[in-house]
């Protein structure tokens, strides 16, 4: 039957167009699309209730009923994986949005004003920078207790200087470009120049960094859940699933821990491919 491949090609076509024809990037975009669909439509897609316990299926391997097997409590791993995409994507999304906005604001402000503003903001960034993100998250967890909130806040703050440094350096470069100076000479206010010209021009690079940061945030948050500090059971979350599933490895049941592990790796790879391709395109455009 030719209908199937045709269908598939039609589905992938818009992605391929966005990807600029690059197969790898198309694949990465497809992965992300699948993830987003899975996260949004989880209740409709998942074959089982992620929390449904079936003690007779405990640690069953892959069966037609449970494609990716069942965990220690007999819950369907695939369904949990699908639902896990929700916290898996939501946490990093918040982290990336907040840290990007914060970082851009700080970085561009520092670059644009220079002088005292720059040195104060740069010092502040350096200070936060000396707190590794996970450490900050762990401290906040120690103080405010486990859950997604404290880590997300901590990482939004801790990731901001990474964006901020980049934003500052590209904004400095961009600011020195004659076209920005031409706008100054035309009489535009600094505010308008920043918002209308400088930001849009540095945004793709920062977006690229943010896409890559998304992957890191996902890894960090999953690590926190793994340590038992992040998303709490019974909520299906990849990191928590690995934590819950790792004792089963002893019983030879790999899927409950390995499946979410692979999901994390694939997601992070997809995000970094997309991020790098954005950066590549910016670089090519610069030439």
């Amino acid at each position: 039957m030719t209908a199937v491949p045709l269908q598939r090609r039609r589905l992938l076509a818009p992605l391929a167009r966005i990807a600029g024809g690059d197969k790898l990037v198309t694949a990465a975009l497809a992965v992300l699309a699948v993830l987003i669909v899975a996260a949004v439509f989880a209740p409709w897609i998942a074959p089982h209730d992620p929390d449904a316990v079936d003690l007779s299926a405990t640690l069953s391997g892959s069966t037609p009923e449970h494609l990716l097997g069942a965990d220690q409590s007999g819950r369907d791993v695939l369904s949990r994986l699908i639902f896990g995409a929700r916290t898996g994507l939501l946490g990093p999304l918040v982290v990336v949005i907040v840290s990007t906005l914060l970082g851009m604001l700080i970085g561009v402000a520092a670059a644009w004003h220079g002088g005292v503003v720059d040195s104060v903001l740069s010092r502040a960034m350096e200070l936060i920078f000396s707190f590794p993100a996970l450490l900050l998250a762990i401290i906040l967890v120690a103080v405010f207790g486990v859950g997604l909130t404290a880590p997300v806040i901590a990482m939004s703050v801790a990731y901001a200087p990474y964006v901020g440094r980049l934003a500052r350096s590209v904004a400095l470069q961009e600011k020195a470009r004659p076209y920005i100076q031409a706008y100054k000479v035309q009489g535009w206010s600094g505010w308008v120049i920043c918002v209308k010209h400088l930001l849009p021009n540095i945004a793709p690079l920062i977006l690229a960094q943010s896409a890559i940061n998304f992957g890191y945030a996902l890894m960090d948050l999953a690590a926190l859940s793994f340590l038992g500090f992040g998303v709490q059971p019974p909520t299906a979350d990849w990191g928590a699933m690995i934590n819950e599933g790792s004792p089963s490895l002893l019983q030879g049941a790999m899927l409950p821990a390995l499946a979410p592990g692979v999901a994390i790796v694939i997601t992070v790879v997809a995000f970094s491919i997309v991020g790098e391709s954005i950066a590549d395109r910016v670089a090519r455009r610069e030439q």
Binding site: L127, I138, M219, A223, G239, L249, M254, L258, V268
Partner: protein
């Protein structure tokens, strides 16, 4: 140079002071009565609470408590762990060798693997490059705890080649015990360093002075060694600083996953039981290590790139 160093060390001191204040302050903000944390959540008699409060100076105003604590820290006294009923300094000191050995081991793996793969990819474009790119892409995306699970299930559980627990006895045994943890710890960073090395070397390979060297009949291997590798070291050193930071925190995950008793695992278990004196001390230690690593990077940079030594030396 000496001036620069002094200024940087002063900067580090300020950073540490501020971070210690922030850590101490945020811990102070924690909801609940510190005394009840110290009692491990047991509802105790008022007399017991009073005794604990006196012992840990919990009745003093915040600033007094902070001053007492930081004063102690300066003299090497990090206070007493609530759960272990021991000096925090001793607790950390006992676990530091494992952590340092782990980091050192992983560091060697990262440097050797990262540089080798990165250089290989940069110099052998085509299939090798693609393979390295894919491999490092996956490596960078593999969180250490996932790597730990994978390595344990393959090498300890299935194959039984490596022990899955413990720190080991003598040096050789320790190395043997730490191999899997170090590999799990290193994986992400090997990928990262390899990618940076590759990019950095490719950038240098495209530079005009490299072509000039070729145009003068310098053999390829010399060109790579003298003009490409050496010049590519700048970004590599910078990312090494970031890697050190990552390593410091990732050890807590890896140590937990492998049941190693190191500083990272101490941090995690102390957070779990809200043993704040330990959390404070370890945090401070991590920050100290991190800023020191960055200082070292900044000191190494001018050695690699003479343009920087000029600028810095002149400023002092």
């Amino acid at each position: 140079m000496a001036g620069f160093l002094l200024r940087r060390i002063g900067g580090i001191a300020v950073t540490l002071l501020v971070t210690s204040f922030l850590v101490f302050g945020s811990v102070h903000l924690a909801p609940g009565d510190p005394a009840s944390f110290l009692l491990g959540g047991r509802s105790a008699s008022p007399a017991a609470v009073a005794a604990i409060k006196a012992q840990y100076h919990l009745d003093d105003p915040f600033l007094v408590q902070y001053t007492k604590w930081i004063g102690g820290v300066v003299t090497g006294d990090f206070g007493k762990s609530a759960t272990f009923r021991q000096d925090v300094g001793g607790l950390i000191a006992a676990r530091l060798p494992t952590t340092l050995l782990l980091i050192g081991y992983a560091g060697v793996l990262i440097l050797v693997g990262g540089l080798a793969f990165g250089a290989l990819a940069a110099l052998r474009r085509g299939v090798v490059d693609r393979a390295v790119l894919v491999g490092t892409g996956i490596a960078t995306a593999t969180p250490s705890f996932v790597a730990a699970i994978g390595l344990i299930s393959l090498f300890s559980v299935q194959l039984g080649w490596f022990p899955a627990f413990g720190n080991g006895g003598g040096f050789g045994d320790r190395i043997y015990h730490l191999t899997l943890p170090a590999a799990a710890l290193a994986l992400t960073f090997v990928g990262l360093l390899a990618r940076v090395t590759r990019t950095s070397m490719l950038e240098e390979l495209g530079r005009e002075h490299v072509e000039v060297a070729r145009s003068r009949g310098v053999p390829g291997s010399d060109v790579v060694r003298r003009h490409v590798l050496r010049n590519a070291l700048g970004p590599i050193t910078t990312v090494t600083g970031t890697i050190v930071a990552g390593l410091l925190v990732a050890t807590s995950i890896v140590e937990t996953a492998f049941g190693l008793s190191g500083v990272g695992q101490l941090l995690v278990s102390s957070v779990t039981v809200k043993d704040f004196p330990v959390v404070q001390a370890v945090s401070l230690l991590v920050v100290l290590a991190f800023v020191t690593a960055n200082l070292v990077v900044d000191l190494v940079h001018p050695l690699i790139d003479p343009r920087l030594s000029h600028a810095k030396g002149g400023g002092a």
